[in-house]
Symmetry: C2
Subunit: 503 residues, 2 copies
């Protein structure tokens, strides 16, 4: 085969894998939006089939041979070339797919599916004992999964690396320790001040008006509805069904405004990232956001650094008031701004404010590593959770429902590798935003005028268009000119909340 | 392999094919309901992939070997057994899939896709010349397709047989000639009477009220929403995504009531058929309606024999009036009944009344056979169409848009094999309904009381549950005790329209 023939053969195989993933994404989307209850059984079988077909193709030895043959040519194009990135990233996926035996993947999948269903019952029943043996097994399987990927300094680097290419347990620990040292005094200072009044956020907010307002905002952000759509699900998410089809979902609480509003902005951030990837990468493993952390940096950037900022609301607040006649008439924009940025230690991660949120993430990261390393027995998890929440946040979960049973992650997947990306995303969001502000110079004035195109163009040029070409550390360095650092994030929090709380 | 192992191996292969079809059905459904415009390109690729994967599996020689090996055992179970039907029908599908070269299927698919897009432009532009060369090619390809299936008395039997197992061109011609001989004098007699007043059907009928009323009716019919749902599309249809997931679509014209109402009843008829197939047939080729004609018999039975009957409206009319305040207040049920059953020769098949509808079908069946046999040149089709409509219906299409360019069938698929099933469905619908009336004795009273369970139970027991176990002629014979005949249909039309028009 000539090189062109080999490259075409590789791309054809990758396109097929990508199309199977796209089809599976639609099956998942439909399952959470419109599928009637009766469809569950056949849908599960259809999804398992598509997943197996994709994995068979992903681990086909022919891909390994094509990669071997194409590598010298690709490397000669330079590390920053699309060709080199294609071979590099495809190799990473191929190695991952081939290192883990299919039989193990099936065993893990069956176990996590069963655990998920048990957790769905155990959580409302506050019955940790019912899932404890299954979680113990999950910890074992997670260790086994890590062991299939040898060669890391810390064996659990493998799990972190699966979500966050190029990141290690040690690097996360260092970043988190530094961040913690900055957050604890900030939270203490805020707690010493009078509590913000967020009562204006509760009221009567009809769903249709929430939907229309949210849509107006994210259209202005640049979310392209000709290449996407928005539906309702129990848990909001973003999904990519193919080039030109990147969908988001939202849920609405008609008695409490922030839930639907900020989840809309959040998912639109994820979606604009996917919509902004260069079309030339379509059908390859490069045609998606690079890591969970960088993805989260974009959802959090649009949700928080833009959507919970004062310039943003100076522009949009009148429209929000008009959307809900009688609800916010007597509330001025500054009061509203204080309400949506109220800092208060709480029990539930997904409802936490920007400042305390990261302490929720850190405790999960530390506890899951302790379980993996064997220094924390699964049986002792609920108590360890309670002690840590009490120590970190000064509140105590009255039950495991709001404690160790709170998040789906450990019960719907493996233990390890997922949580760090939430805080990495927050850290990166501020570093990216600071770089955009530096390059655009009048970013705040643009946001205050409802103009988001300069920001989205900057993000597209520096982050979105590259897809998976670069790792998170690489993309941070390229986009901001500096290595990943907590400094911009702490500066952002200190400035914003210093002003809000008169510190 | 033991017989059990062979049977399990066969069923596992068939289940996989069925799951690929189910996934593809969802991709099609989404394409016509919710997919953003930008998704078209990747969706087309995903569908082509799933179709190829299903065809590869369908024509895998291993299936042929399993069928060979299992046949003696299956035949020993008796022709009416599930086992014998499974082997018989799977063999039919396997032979069909293997007889036609993959390269031809791809060529045909590419050609019909291109023709469809050309027709989408040519129809509104009334430009038959623009699609003429493509239609000529379609005729050639349709002949070639028929030639891959040798051994029929008439070469085009193969095309009829693809849609209508066990039916031949000669049998259709005989039935159609008899039916025509009965329809022509009936239509002439109706035309000699004063025209019915259907003006009450035009008005202001809000979509939400149409949707709610239609849903109430089809829930009462027995369409199970826990195993289905209803959405809006440009062209209504029914689709099965898996056991427990049989969806219908509808469109609404807010200025004209019948469009949305009767298409809802029609598609619900198709859907109840699929919902009523025995679960034990799941994952096999038996788990679907047996032929296009029998399917149409069920959509037409619920739409027309039930939904356009006087007992039905004596029960539902008050609820319909209440659904559209001010629209039907001064219209009594007899006037409404006459309006929805108005007979008037017209140009468009899909808008035709029950009586003239079949003449539309017959002209298409005759013209497509003439094209296939070479006695009608494609270039002469528009004129032949106009002459036939003038002769049969006494009206003349002012343009090809409402003539030879009217239906999608020849432009989105092959020429031949599709149209006969519409009229076969009408014929069978009356024969089935007469048998149900005989067996249930008080069927009309039940319908007049809004009770549909006895009818649906009868249809399930006699037709639905069997899926594809029996051919259309077999199922008619089993369900009604007589071979397929036009007599019940003509009796139904003569009685109903005799009363309506005082003949």
């Amino acid at each position: 085969m000539t090189r062109d023939t080999e490259l075409a053969a590789l791309k054809s195989r990758l396109q097929e894998i990508d199309d199977l993933h796209g089809a599976a994404a639609l099956l998942h989307w439909d399952q959470s939006t419109y599928m009637p209850a009766g469809g569950a059984q056949s849908r599960g079988r259809q999804l398992a089939l598509l997943s197996r077909l994709a994995h068979d193709r992903q681990s086909d030895p022919a891909i390994g041979h094509l990669l071997d043959s194409l590598s010298p040519w690709a490397e000669a194009q330079g590390a920053d070339s699309d060709a080199a990135a294609l071979i590099r990233v495809t190799r990473r996926d191929f190695d991952r797919a081939t290192r883990v035996p299919s039989a193990f993947i099936e065993r893990l999948s069956e176990h996590t599916t069963a655990t998920y269903h048990a957790w769905e019952r155990a959580r409302p029943a506050n019955d940790f004992a019912a899932v404890r043996p299954m979680l113990e097994k999950t910890v074992e399987l997670s260790r086994e999964l890590a062991a299939y990927h040898p060669g890391y300094a810390n064996p659990y680097d493998a799990l972190v690396d699966l979500a966050e290419d190029g990141m290690t347990v040690a690097a996360v620990r260092t970043l988190f320790a530094e961040l913690r040292a900055g957050l604890v005094p900030l939270i203490a200072a805020i707690r010493s001040r009078p509590e913000a009044d967020a009562s204006c956020l509760a009221g009567d907010f009809p769903e249709a008006a929430q939907q229309a307002f949210g849509e107006n905002v994210i259209r202005a952000f640049g979310y392209d509805y000709t290449r996407g759509r928005q539906d309702k699900t129990a848990h909001p998410y973003m999904t990519k069904l193919g080039r030109g089809d990147v969908r988001i979902t939202t849920r609405y609480d008609t008695a409490y405004l922030p839930d639907g509003l900020f989840s809309t902005l959040h998912e639109a951030g994820h979606a604009m990232y996917e919509q902004g990837i260069a079309d030339s990468l379509e059908g390859t493993p490069l045609f998606t956001g690079t890591t969970a952390g960088v993805h989260e940096s974009q959802s959090r950037l649009w949700e928080n650094l833009v959507g919970r900022s004062l310039p943003f609301w100076r522009h949009w607040y009148a429209s929000l008031q008009a959307s809900f006649p009688g609800e916010l008439d007597d509330v001025d924009v500054d009061t509203f701004y204080r309400a949506i940025n109220k800092v208060i230690p709480s029990l539930v991660r997904t409802e936490a404010d920007e400042v305390t949120y990261n302490l929720h993430v850190m405790l999960r990261f530390d506890l899951e590593l302790a379980m993996l390393e064997g220094s924390l027995a699964v049986a002792d998890l609920p108590e360890a959770w309670r002690a840590r929440v009490q120590g970190d946040l000064g509140v105590t979960p009255p039950d495991d429902r709001n404690g160790a049973l709170q998040d789906v992650h450990w019960y719907g997947g493996i233990v390890g590798g997922a949580f760090q990306s939430y805080t990495l995303g927050n850290i990166m969001s501020a570093q990216f935003f600071a770089a955009a502000r530096r390059d655009l110079s009048d970013l705040d004035a643009q946001i205050g005028a409802g103009e988001f195109e300069p920001l989205r163009t900057w993000l597209t040029a520096n982050i979105y268009r590259h897809g998976r070409k670069f790792t998170a550390p690489e993309i941070v360095e390229r986009a901001t000119g500096a290595p990943l650092s907590i400094a911009p994030y702490l500066a952002y929090l200190n400035t914003k909340y210093g002003a809000l709380y008169g510190l």
